[in-house]
Symmetry: C3
Subunit: 263 residues, 3 copies
């Protein structure tokens, strides 16, 4: 079923508008292109909402905020919601500063369809967990499951907590996605790029759980493959090659996705 | 004759000031360095015009605009014009939003020597074509030739429309440049990097047509070579290596540049 | 002794906050991660000072300035100083524009622990040298030694001048670091990434000279190794792999660091 979604991404090449951080723009755009989607890295207050009128999905990433970008995020998200297009939130280092906590809370309040973060970030969104000194996950994924369920319940969003293994929930179902490699923690913006891929899959189906699962499985499988490269520099190159070469059927192979709990 | 220009770029290492988008800065700077030019990614309102006083060419790219950048673009372009240095415009996704249309029009009005875009972007500059949902070319190159001629006529600029094949015109002559590979559409900022290379070549000759042709031929040849890499990640790496290794004589090999029409 | 510092970086994974330029963010973050440190690319006026309260070192890089960033730099540096955490300054193209000269001077005045630049940049900081048209060093390293000593004397900072060979001084001692390869001048942001690594080492020891030397030796050794790649694209990938694979003992091998003068 996930392979079918990848086929649709490649057929439709959905326009995924990313209002993302400076560090992640390049890798996110390249990951979307490698997969078969079409990136639009458009964040200016003067045009973000207008561009959202053309976009098939909108991805909000708070990695490097400033007031005009926050305003643009709200504008683009409002247009996406009005057009019934998915909005994805990546709460980078949400617990690190008051500005991030407030911005995340305000974006969640106005409505987000899918949240993708590490355990520290997901816990920060519900007011708990480590203080989240940066973008590193200092909490294990499991520790965030309660926070993820609570967040899904209060916002209606699908919440994906990613790390050495990924867990996602819509408040009822819980799915686990396995794969990847520890070297992925040594390359910047992998998580941000993953959030962009969530946007690409969410653009081609109304099933938010399936879209998020497909994106997570894509990164886990391609990350595992790319880990045979010789180091983090080679890994990044190999990851893009793997996204490009990924066969839809690989997403449905056994051992990648497991349903842990049904509602 | 194009090989001679590449030799000059490597001898003079012209300082190419780029006011370009966040996604393209890294690849543009690296492409310029790999070729043998010297990049200056300086766009702040507080210093862009002053830096243009040192630059051998100025490249304006509207990929991620904001009001201070637009102001800096006008300031840098004015200094370049006053110093008789070339100004290159890359109208990224010009048709996508009103902000881009207005900014492109204003920059064209104040004077640009060379325009480099895909077919949708070139058509958008004369008020036609697809709406240009993003940076992808949704129009074939040929469809933009009339728009390119019209634009060249009204502005006096050399206009290059790039895609599966490239066409450039100064309103009279029409040249075609062949090569490249479809995988180039799966890597972000290749077109933007090409516009920077146009700036490097335009910095070492007053012949705008020759400079633009040399830059297009450079990308077509290096792109073809790099396409033997395994995917879009490897391609990007191989492209920079190819720019570095390019022999001047390769630019004058048969089958790359063809004159389609003379005035 | 330098190997011990690398071991400490990998054990402590210090949080290095970088207020750096758009071109260098990606490579700097990846270099820090590859080495074993933890990057925080946080520069917004709204949160930079708060983040500095969590950071083990703060790196200021003036490559792409704007007024809000300059304000954030002062805020983050003040917090770092109050917490006795090291502040590193990378005066990119300091001589090119008045804005850069003024910003560098103001940052130096408020207190910086380590300065890392090329010869033209270091000379510009004391009001001499080439005008520094861009980020390229147009002066030889040796020509900047007097300026470096003067700067170290007037500011109390360790001053590292890097190029074909590196010299660093605290005003009394002078050390030379050898290695690297000329292809490093064909890849953007290598110097900026090096300044980030200086921050990582300075985060784990109070010995500013040893920290700076260890960072310079790290880049010289890894740059030499990566130079066996086929061109500047491959070099960048190989450099990150080399940082990841670097053995602590390699930093103490003979022929890398030499003491030229003791106070």
């Amino acid at each position: 079923m996930y392979g079918k979604l990848l086929r649709r991404v490649r057929e439709e090449a959905p326009l995924v508008q990313c209002l993302t951080n400076y560090v992640a723009m390049d890798l996110s755009a390249n990951a979307l292109l490698a997969l078969g989607a079409s990136p639009a890295m458009v964040h200016a207050r003067e045009e973000a909402a207008e561009m959202a009128g053309l976009a098939a999905a909108v991805v909000l990433n708070i990695g490097t905020l400033s007031p005009p970008w926050v305003e643009a995020m709200h504008g683009a998200a409002a247009v996406a919601r009005a057009r019934d297009r998915p909005v994805v939130l990546d709460p980078v280092a949400a617990g690190a500063t008051a500005y991030r906590r407030e911005t995340s809370a305000a974006l969640l309040e106005t409505g987000v369809d899918i949240v993708r973060g590490n355990a520290s970030e997901i816990r920060a969104l519900v007011g708990g967990g480590a203080t989240g000194r940066g973008v590193d996950a200092t909490d294990p994924v499991e520790a965030a499951l309660e926070a993820a369920s609570q967040l899904a319940g209060s916002t209606g969003a699908v919440v994906a907590t990613t790390g050495s293994r990924d867990l996602l929930t819509d408040g009822g179902r819980v799915l686990e996605v396995r794969g990847g490699h520890v070297i992925m923690t040594r390359v910047t913006a992998i998580g941000c790029a993953l959030s962009s891929l969530v946007g690409a899959f969410a653009a081609v189906t109304d099933d938010r759980v399936a879209a998020t699962t497909a994106a997570l499985a894509t990164m886990k499988i391609c990350g595992r493959k790319a880990s045979f490269a010789g180091g983090p520099g080679s890994f990044r190159t190999a990851l893009l090659d793997a996204l490009y070469a990924l066969e839809p059927d690989e997403l449905d192979q056994p051992g990648v996705v497991a349903e842990l709990a049904a509602p």
